[in-house]
Symmetry: C2
Subunit: 576 residues, 2 copies
């Protein structure tokens, strides 16, 4: 399907926007009027620039507060419209978005609205322009899409149709099934935006918090499917107003928008995700020689060395860590994760189709092939079958209290939180699980957990607030079958490795729950969910950018001990 995007959805000057939108592979654009007004290029020059870039101008928008007005106002509005038709002719745009009137002067009279819109459509026809009439969610009288369609029907002019906007429909809780009652040829345009569910004034919600399909909570696939069933053959066009996107990289946002439409299209085509990863194959850490001691203390042993690279395999149970002696890193850091994949080649192909950077692999001829992509924060993600292990020789598995990798927490660059949500959802097939704002001493940390349906792969994406200049910490959570036993041993043998937990935390914990006093002595944190599931966890001190968490889930606990994160963050900041 043709893919389009409104210029307001990305940052930059109009020229920068058009270039980035073309580079991302879009077929067309909606020219948002303010972008044109502030542009030094004439409409003819904009038209030529878009054509050079291979972009059609699919829509000019918005034209506001037109219909259902007193006669004396109408004359001025028609004059205003004719000027716009002239600009559109110069621009080579033949579709104008008219939003439902929000002015207090508007009259609640559908017949009047229809009559005036018919007049507008007649004038438009003289310029070869068509009018797409849209119900704004906060329109004064017309604010439901079926109401806008009723007015269009009453006006009955070939140059007048309706524009559907997923935000305006879904933010009001309207059922999009009614779309199927509209003939496809009368749907002149389809604008798509997702949004997180927020309890706020719909105008503010719309103007500041829209996001790309798959980044929010709306069912865009369902709505789009309804539109397509009408026979609609126009573009899928993104129209997003987002404070963060306005500040982000033009190119990166445009690419992310395209990814969202490809993912939407895949879901419409009934293309299933490639098999969701079945678990963590490994996590790879860039080492500066300091991690071996820490891993030994945690009960890991070096069970192999890569045949051709300076990489060691450290194992315990099914938890496998690669220590990579890269000499270019200043501090230990998590640089890659391996995912057990039923179809590594298919997974990379799927990721590539979703515009994820596929990484070139340098490997010796005898090494196992490993396919990798880059996650939005730059962490490498490998899709593995079991062949890769052979590169590390015939090391035996080391049993221990640590059984496997529970989750990996990465820090996403500022401005790209929504991008990460879409990436993990569309590329890896993980589901959004928990979204939180956690206070640390110097701000709020946004955090989103994504997990495979069976919980075998869990990723947590954090984004730090602005201005604290804090380390983008990463962490690796290792599942234990008895975290208290591990804590006992560590406390006895390596007390300096454990992050100290304030006694005050335990005063509160013991006020809330009857917990074993040993937790306090050992520095083990505790959480309980509403269904009685329990979470026991502890943290190591940080080594460079990275720290380890040992976790034990009991009784079906699915969370991450979020209530304890502020305690952990405060202690880490105090020590940083």
């Amino acid at each position: 399907m043709r893919k389009s995007i409104a210029t307001v959805s990305v940052s930059g000057t109009l020229t920068e926007k058009l270039e980035a939108i073309a580079a991302a592979g879009f077929d067309g654009v909606e020219i948002f009027e303010n972008d044109l007004l502030a542009c030094p290029l004439s409409p003819e020059e904009v038209r030529a620039r878009a054509a050079d870039l291979g972009l059609g101008i699919d829509l000019y928008q918005p034209f506001r507060d037109f219909e259902a007005v007193p006669a004396d106002v109408l004359a001025g509005s028609l004059r205003r419209a004719e000027r716009k038709f002239q600009v559109m002719r110069r621009l080579g745009a033949d579709l104008l978005l008219v939003c439902s009137n929000v002015s207090p002067a508007a009259i609640g009279d559908d017949e009047l609205a229809a009559e005036q819109l018919r007049l507008l459509a007649e004038r438009a026809a003289e310029y070869g322009v068509r009018i797409a009439y849209e119900a704004l969610a906060w329109g004064r009288h017309v604010n439901e899409y079926l109401h806008a369609w009723r007015v269009v029907r009453m006006a009955d002019h070939p140059n007048l149709g309706t524009c559907l906007d997923s935000f305006h429909i879904l933010s009001r809780g309207s059922d999009p099934i009614g779309i199927e009652a509209i003939p496809g040829e009368k749907i002149f345009f389809l604008q798509l935006a997702d949004a997180p569910l927020l309890a706020m004034d719909v105008l503010q919600w719309s103007r500041h918090y829209r996001c790309f399909p798959g980044q929010g909570n709306f069912d865009l696939a369902g709505l789009t499917a309804s539109v397509l069933r009408t026979g609609y053959a126009g573009p899928l066009s993104l129209e997003v107003f987002n404070d963060v996107f306005r500040q982000a990289s033009t190119e990166r946002t445009a690419l992310d928008g395209m990814r969202s439409l490809i993912a939407l299209e895949q879901s419409l085509d009934g293309l299933s995700h490639p098999a969701v990863p079945a678990g963590f194959a490994f996590a790879e850490l860039a080492d500066t020689g300091t991690l071996g001691g820490l891993l030994t203390a945690l009960g890991f042993a070096r069970t192999g060395v890569h045949a051709s690279k300076p990489v060691e395999l450290w194992s315990q149970g099914e938890a496998r860590l690669l220590l990579n002696a890269r000499d270019q890193v200043a501090d230990p850091a998590l640089v890659a994760i391996g995912l057990d994949s039923p179809d590594p080649g298919g997974a990379v192909k799927h990721a590539g189709a979703l515009l994820s950077p596929v990484l070139p692999r340098e490997r010796a001829p005898e090494d196992a092939p490993l396919d990798a992509i880059a996650a939005p924060d730059g962490t490498e993600i490998f899709f593995c079958d079991t062949a890769w292990l052979a590169d590390f020789g015939p090391g035996a598995a080391i049993p221990g209290r640590i059984t496997h990798i529970d989750h990996v927490a990465l820090t996403q660059p500022l401005h790209y939180f929504d991008e990460a949500a879409l990436f993990y959802r569309s590329v890896l097939g993980l589901r959004p699980q928990e979204s939180l704002e956690l206070p640390d001493p110097y701000g709020l940390l946004r955090s989103k957990a994504m997990s495979a349906p069976d919980g075998a792969v869990r990723m947590v994406v954090n984004i730090a607030h602005v201005g604290a200049g804090q380390q983008p910490w990463q962490h690796l959570a290792l599942a234990c079958d008895d975290v208290v036993a591990v804590a006992r041993r560590l406390r006895a043998e390596h007390p300096d490795l454990l992050l100290p937990i304030p006694d005050n935390y335990y005063d509160d914990l013991e006020a809330r729950y009857e917990v074993d006093p040993e937790l306090r002595r050992l520095g083990v944190l505790y959480d309980r969910d509403g269904a009685g599931g329990e979470f026991l966890h502890l943290y190591t001190v940080t080594a460079g950018r990275v720290f380890f968490e040992l976790v034990q889930r009991l009784g079906g606990y699915q969370g991450y001990g979020a209530g304890n994160a502020p305690i952990r963050l405060a202690v880490q900041h105090a020590g940083a």
Copy 2:
């Protein structure tokens, strides 16, 4: 009155918070429980630290979801409460805030609530603790302050009183006059927070957007006056949850909080503001030798030189600009403004009482005394009578189209927008006029205008978004009696000095209004308000950090042409 602040209101670790709070001059603190839980100091150590700093611990908070629960839940809650009483004894705190229950398990039964709160008060009494029961605006059954007071009255225990919180009262639109029905000795605590009027879920509004008194839209003085009429003798205590304050400097936020309470107290004492400035005496620009030419082009002439400093006076009508040949600046910048003050000494004294930095003046014995303070962005503000002019010799006034300084626009440092609002309101007596979010190509710019009631002094405070790395532009708007005439001359003689305005802007302007086509030729922008007032304005190109705007107000127009600002910003960014 005693002044207190909740530790949650400022950033940092608990120790950092206490130090900054004491340094700002507060008498006491509310210990927010999470700050204690994350703190490595024992309650005894926190108590000692606070005492060393001269801070009392006026409240421990919050204790949640206690009252009106089934009997089996009650036992656990009482056990939890006793643990808190023990912590409070160690902390030396004797007042506990209990918020109304928000749990779905809570029962809508005032008698049950009262009975259980009485039980809690009895237990508290054994520890010497008193309970302050507060209606959260989103409490499940109790969410109005008079409802909380009814429950307290029914419980009838000397250790149980109510806590009033201005946010919870005013956010619901409750009339605070009912407070006067509560005996002062039963108001155990008063928490103060202001907030901007936002149409959003009250919980989110409360948790993220509170601000200090005088920074928002609530009538804190009226509410506080009602509380004081009851005979309440406890502290005025700030309790603010604000995402930006969480990221800002601990010391600066604490100081700003204290300023807000001093200003509140002044208004309660009926202390009027010192006379509001009557106009701009001058604006001072650090010059690198480039501004003289620009000013000459604008019709200014050098009318004097300072007797003892490398400062020139340039005049036109009542617009007076000082060019200061400071050799330490790299680019021209606006460094100071002079305000015509009926009582310069009193104005500085007032500013000092509000914790504004009073600047030491270096001057030769023969110079006129000039009293100055620093605005939050570092700009120096001088309070002047007319004596200062004598330092520049007997220059004659130069008549011209430019008549006076209309307004000055400064860029406030990130995180300190609310601080600026409070500063200009409390220190200078300006009134908030217009608050906007303006799109520029790389984000949204927040802007707030503040003006003297008669419009003789107008300040605009802008704050740039994060990440654009843009110049913190400042600008000086000069009033003209005929901006079109000035534009004609400039266009003819100095076309390169004018910021070019895109033709597309005029296509839209002429679609909306019947304006003189000459505006397009001259690059003059236009705005009209709802009452027919008109605004004509144009901009010069920037010189360093600074640019000039020429403005003409017609028909009582009071705004700043905000609708045109995105055009101006886009052109400036394109040229930056």
